[in-house]
């Protein structure tokens, strides 16, 4: 210790005076500011986490809602005997394989006149789902006496048509034309000429919107990045490609009834305000759908099909029933295996296991197994169950086995905790009455531990229900249309279905993925809710 140190040695009085100095008051202020900051960080972290969760849930629920509805066109279909019973007699086999799509196409043709050319026909058949005729087939097969009649059938729209109805439309609007317009032809590329400047207002509009004039011709050329401009004339529809005040050129989408001049409100100027380049449906599709829509036949309904049918390549036909049944079968195998094994293992470790190295190893092993990545269990399943034991690929049996091994540690740990919570006095009372140790455990301890075990099991099952990665390894990733009927049939499960759909480009499939997620989450919340309910109802404080 130096003399210098002596001179600065703080005395108790000095310290006490520092404590009460104004400088210290400032420090206290700073300390409280730090306190508030720290607390704010804590709240902020919690709120941010909550926001993440909320964003996730609202995003998915929001995306899923359209998938729970579908649009059908309620159309009158003539059940033409020439198609359904070609040689005049009704044969069940013929009825089943008949070309119902031609009947629905004929109906559409009658509603939307002027379909000419391949593009238009393709668009026409794209309005309805490829499965739309199934409803027709079902009715006719059920009641062949309908043949020859005209019946009203709800026909499912295709995914694009459905999405169009769900708000992804082109923003079509029409205004009556002014002046007189003469079409040069009724189909193909035509010109529309006007002697009294019928297109002047359109040209003004486009110029105002900044669309440049072609330097050579002086015409305004439209493209797919601009709203589509059409002219409805003489019962047909023309999509304009270039416009001058006195004329326009365009392609006929729906052919005209004639090429006579039309004036005044007899022709209309139609606009699809969403540019074609930003829509899934082209102008030809829109023209047809708008025609069907005008008839008022399109109705919105709940998409029950989503719950009652299996997977499909067509989004509007795809459903989750196959995946739900697959999940149920898989979980059944898991439950049947891991509940007894888990409980008995827990009973052994908690009640009978001698304290030795082996028991220690088992304990450590269970704790570590609980944290092994799930995909490694998939590798185990692939190597042992599929390659070594030769069990069938993609089967709920194998999926259940793998998931059972996966959730076994969870269940053992939960069951041990539940057994441990039963006070030793119960055991001692039973043994004191002359019961064997096993009788004490199985007659008295286990029933008391059962609520806790069930809670743990439900949580383990919920975990298994949401598990995907190990099931991919054992091939439960195939495209399977059929509803699985047995444990060894190829199947898929709900999370894998979600994964499969999420990879598909169609918007409608993305919506269905979100809808499948909503169903999955509903099941998970229900299971966890049941576990919480069980815990609160049977929780016993000793």
């Amino acid at each position: 210790m130096t003399d210098a140190a002596h001179s600065t040695l703080p005395t108790a009085a000095l310290i006490a005076s520092r404590r009460n100095s104004p400088a210290n008051a400032a420090l206290v202020k700073r300390r409280y500011a730090a306190e508030r900051r720290f607390k704010a960080f804590g709240i902020g972290a919690l709120i941010l986490t909550g926001t993440f969760l909320l964003a996730l849930l609202t995003n998915i629920v929001g995306k899923s809602i359209p998938a729970f509805f579908e649009h059908t066109a309620n159309l009158e279909v003539k059940l033409d005997p020439a198609v359904l019973a070609p040689d005049g007699k009704v044969d069940p086999a013929t009825l089943k394989s008949a070309d119902y799509a031609s009947l629905t196409r004929a109906t559409l043709m009658s509603i939307v006149p002027g379909i000419e050319g391949r593009a238009a026909r393709k668009s026409l058949s794209g309005v309805l789902s490829s499965g739309a005729a199934d409803e027709l087939r079902r009715r006719v097969v059920a009641d062949p006496s309908l043949i020859g009649q005209t019946i009203k059938v709800p026909l499912l729209l295709s995914d694009d048509g459905d999405l169009y109805m769900k708000g992804q439309d082109a923003g079509a609007s029409s205004v009556p034309g002014i002046g007189t317009v003469t079409p040069s032809d009724i189909k193909g590329s035509i010109t529309l000429t006007s002697t009294d400047g019928a297109f002047k207002s359109l040209v003004d509009d486009l110029t105002k919107a900044g669309v440049p004039k072609d330097a050579d011709t002086g015409a305004i050329v439209l493209n797919s990045n601009l709203p589509s401009r059409l002219v409805a004339i003489n019962g047909g529809l023309v999509k304009l490609q270039s416009v001058t005040p006195d004329g326009a050129t365009g392609n006929v989408l729906l052919s005209l009834k004639g090429n006579e001049a039309a004036s005044g409100p007899a022709w209309q100027q139609t606009t699809y305000s969403v540019p074609e380049g930003r829509r899934k449906t082209n102008d030809q599709d829109v023209a047809i759908i708008e025609k069907v829509k005008e008839t008022g036949a399109i109705q919105k309904g709940i998409n029950w099909r989503f719950f009652t049918s299996g997977d499909s390549r067509e989004p509007e036909l795809a459903g989750i029933r196959g995946a739900l049944v697959g999940s149920a079968l898989t979980l059944l195998v898991t439950l049947v295996l891991c509940l007894p094994i888990g409980v008995l293992a827990a009973v052994y470790l908690e009640e009978f296991a001698p304290k030795n190295r082996l028991t220690d190893i088992i304990e450590v092993n269970i704790n570590n197994l609980a944290a092994v990545p799930s995909i490694v269990f998939g590798l185990l399943g692939l190597a042992v169950f599929l390659n070594f034991m030769g069990l069938p690929r993609s089967a709920p049996l194998v999926g259940g086995l793998v998931l059972a091994l996966l959730v076994l540690p969870t269940i053992i740990i939960a069951a041990r905790a539940a057994i441990k919570a039963v006070p030793p006095s119960i055991r001692e009372a039973a043994i004191g009455l002359g019961a064997s140790r096993q009788q004490a455990v199985f007659h008295h301890v286990l029933p008391l531990a059962m609520p806790g075990i069930m809670t743990g099991t439900i949580i383990g099952m919920a975990h298994a229900l949401g598990e995907t990665a190990p099931l991919l390894m054992i091939g439960m990733i195939a495209f399977i249309v059929d509803i699985p009927g047995s444990l060894t049939q190829a199947a898929t499960v709900l999370p894998v279905q979600i994964y499969l759909w999420s990879d598909l480009p169609e918007v409608a499939f993305q919506q269905r993925t979100a809808a499948a997620i909503v169903v999955l989450l509903a099941f998970l919340f229900a299971m966890n809710g049941a576990a919480i309910w069980l815990r609160s109802k049977f929780e016993r404080r000793w």
């Binding site: 703080p10 310290i15 404590r19």
Partner: protein
Amino acid sequence: MENRAVDLSAIERIEAARTAQITGAARPAKVVAEGVDVYYGAKHALKDVSVDVPDRGVMAFIGPSGCGKSTFLRCINRMNDTIPSCRVTGKITIDDQDIYDPALDVVQLRARVGMVFQKPNPFPKSIFDNVAYGPRIHGLSTNKTELDQIVQMSLQKAGLWEEVKDRLQDSGTSLSGGQQQRLCIARAIAVSPDVILMDEPCSALDPIATAKVETLIDELRSQFCIIIVTHSMQQAARVSQRTAFFHLGTLVEEGPTQLIFTNPKDQRTQDYITGRFG
């Protein structure tokens, strides 16, 4: 040289205190409680307690367990604030300042009122950092040398310096129980508090460690106002100059220790010190 100077002043103070105690002309009261009531939810834990604690010297709170003595002790540095259901009414002043005044800052109050707990609770840090904790957070040292000095002085006062000076960087938890408790005392006096509260500081210690801590308390009484809660009447008799007896949430009797133990006024005090209940 330094040490001797301290010793001399200490002896003077002890003499002064002893004189004051014997003559009954006590120093002005440091802590004054008037009509303090404490409620835990609906439970009325402390009823209308009024007591004066003199500056310098040791005052002991005794009484059977659950009598409210610890509760009262924890009112003096407002540690009861950490219990949500706890409500304190009445008035407690330290140096004529109301400590339940809303304008008063509890952080600064606790810097003035140190506390030692029943079980030694050194922080899981080095011995040095344990003692330096208070001076650091309250900004009581301006440089490293000063901090070293404060730590050394506190450990010296707590009678621990000789035992730990070579291993200041060892963990505080590596000390023995008695050493840990003296470390906690050193930690408390490092901020030079006005009052030190001790909540049964020896109950978790063996007899030898207890004797050391008691000696330490005796040495510190010349510099601090010490309030000690104890369940041991012998300890109260050994270390304190004044004693207050609590029973069922009320302060039954308070006075010079010798008087309480030899000639209690109240029958309940008599019964307690003669071992009829406890």
